[in-house]
Symmetry: C2
Subunit: 109 residues, 2 copies
């Protein structure tokens, strides 16, 4: 069981990152934790939800206040280093979708 | 390794469903497959990406041509039966976000 990102009332923005990992770690675990910690410090960061299954298929969604916050994070130096490592070693393939969240609701039982 | 939803050029729409499952199956596996097959037949359905980890935490994203297609699917009789089962038996909690996908890109290595 994991928490949901504690996002504010819409509208806000989401980056959906769907990916397939390569075999082996190649430094992924450590840098992934570091990059997530760094993302949380960025202006406009709202939260993250992430799941990966045992086959290496995963979805990570980060939530942001604005499209500018998303663009700024994409250009962050340490994040760019991680993006290059991702292309070279960590991912077989990935797809990124930038979205505007228009409405949301949740239920607990 | 799993495929990405083969979505068209943006804009299109996404429903992000983040959830925690209860313990045990309670008919979830069979009905989940049935509902996914039914979703694929709906007007405006574009694709689905879904991951759940061993803790029961999962993200399912369905993609749609329009907000009307999303509303129509939410009101579909068999889907409403599944939603009720979900509330009663399958989920501890869930969060739903309805989004407009504004841009996307993908990479394969």
């Amino acid at each position: 069981m994991s928490d949901f990102a504690n996002t504010p009332n819409p509208p806000y923005f989401a980056v959906i990152f769907t990916s397939n990992r390569t075999e082996g770690d190649h430094g992924y675990g450590a840098m992934s934790d570091e990059i997530e910690a760094l993302a949380k410090e960025q202006p406009g960061f709202l939260g993250v939800e992430s799941v990966r299954d045992s086959s290496g298929y995963g979805i990570t969604i980060s939530y942001w206040e604005s499209e500018k916050a998303i663009r700024d994070w994409k250009q962050h130096t340490q994040h760019k280093i991680a993006q290059d490592k991702g292309k070279a070693e960590w991912y077989r393939n990935y797809k990124v979708r930038i979205c505007k969240v228009e409405r949301d609701y949740e239920r607990s039982f």
